[in-house]
């Protein structure tokens, strides 16, 4: 019993089965990503002023990823074209190139872009006094310029109050109850090591954390763009002096010591941070899963188990590669939309 039209085309439709199948599947994927894009629009349009954070994406890295993916689409189509012209060796070359490009894309996301978000912290303060203290401690005389800069760059609203503007940076140390010693986070907080679960939510000063001790009293934050020479802790009434803490590499990092009791919210740039990051990780995460799935299928079609079909039924094998290529183009097309929407707008 044989299913007809797997390798040849049905005369009245001009299509073979898998092509119909993959286009139907892609239609459903359009609806899936479309729903997520619609959610993005609704969340962004509905956000209160000063809550939708922008300007935190790394555009050079995003551009690099875009170029890599476009290149992979070129190679995937070259692979298929080689098969149509009967050149199996060229097919293998191009397909391996595709997989390498795809792997590079995922690697950039997994080992650089996402961890960079999970180790970067936003702190907002309970009252204006506290906020001023710590902005001064971090930036010294420049502090009010810095506040306006953050308000403009991230929220497009230079009029934001100091309590609405986050102090942003990397946590380099912490203190626990009954102990004045500053604990290093260097080893604990590299890349994926539980760093992203440190979180303090408003009116609730319990740290929500995986690796973090429960009796934490203060964090040492090295603010972005803080010039350690100009920081003027003596101008801040209650802020502690700039504390030296050590990163895992042994070098000293200066940071501002912030008691947990004065923090309204502390969160890394993780999904729970804000709707922007929630939708960002959902969209890019789902997209990355599709890239991974694509890598699996592309690899299967290079291994002996997959390439067996080329010897048995070359037309059907070429059709399979075309089907994969169609999926791959769709995944790439999604990224072409994702990139400007998440990174540029």
């Amino acid at each position: 019993m044989e299913i007809p039209y797997n390798s040849t085309q049905r005369p009245d439709t001009g299509l073979y089965n898998a092509k119909v199948g993959i286009w139907l599947f892609l239609a459903s994927e359009v609806m899936l990503f479309g729903a997520l894009f619609s959610a993005y629009v609704l969340l962004r349009v509905g956000a209160s002023p000063g809550t939708w954070s922008m300007g935190l994406m790394n555009i050079p890295v995003g551009t690099f990823n875009t170029v890599i993916l476009i290149l992979s689409s070129v190679t995937v189509v070259m692979a298929w074209a080689s098969l149509k012209l009967g050149d199996f060796k060229a097919y293998k070359k191009y397909q391996i190139a595709t997989i390498l490009c795809a792997a590079a894309f995922v690697l950039v996301k997994w080992s650089y872009e996402w961890p960079a978000k999970f180790t970067h912290y936003d702190v907002t303060f309970k009252d204006a006094t506290a906020a001023k203290d710590y902005f001064v401690a971090a930036y010294g005389d420049n502090h009010s310029k810095q506040v306006t800069k953050i308000a403009k760059d991230r929220y497009n609203d230079p009029e934001l109050q100091i309590t609405q503007v986050p102090l942003s940076g990397h946590i380099v140390g912490y203190k626990v109850k009954g102990d004045t010693h500053v604990h290093d986070v260097g080893k604990v907080m590299n890349i994926w090591n539980g760093a992203w679960f440190w979180r303090i939510n408003w009116q609730d000063t319990n740290m929500v954390a995986l690796n973090c001790p429960k009796d934490i009293t203060a964090v040492i934050l090295h603010a972005d763009g803080a010039d350690d020479d100009h920081a003027k802790p003596q101008h801040a009434k209650t802020a502690s002096l700039s504390t030296d803490a050590h990163s895992g590499a042994g070098s000293k990092h200066h940071g501002v010591e912030i008691p947990v009791s004065r923090i309204k919210r502390l969160s890394s740039l993780e999904p729970a941070h804000s709707p922007f990051f929630a939708i960002y990780f959902t969209l890019t995460g789902l997209h990355a899963l599709h890239v991974l799935g694509g890598i699996v299928v592309l690899s299967y079609n290079l291994l002996p188990i997959g390439t067996r079909l080329w010897l048995k039924d070359p037309d059907r094998f070429a059709n399979r590669i075309e089907t994969t290529g169609l999926f791959w183009h769709f995944v790439d097309l999604v990224w072409i939309f994702l990139f400007p929407i998440l990174y540029l707008l």
Partner: protein
Amino acid sequence: MSLKAFHIFFITVSILIGLILAGWFAMRFHSGQGNAYLLASIASVCGSVALFIYARRFLKKLKHISYL
């Protein structure tokens, strides 16, 4: 739609995105955010042109394959 047709569509969109990106970089350069943006803008335009040239060669190479 065959992979050939989808590929042409895809390359067209990529060319457009390159031009949009070039414009975006140019805007950033114009608002005084650094010379790197000028370089990036030029590079984007070059990329789009390269894709256009590639598209024409691609169509020539796969002349005999259907769009269906």
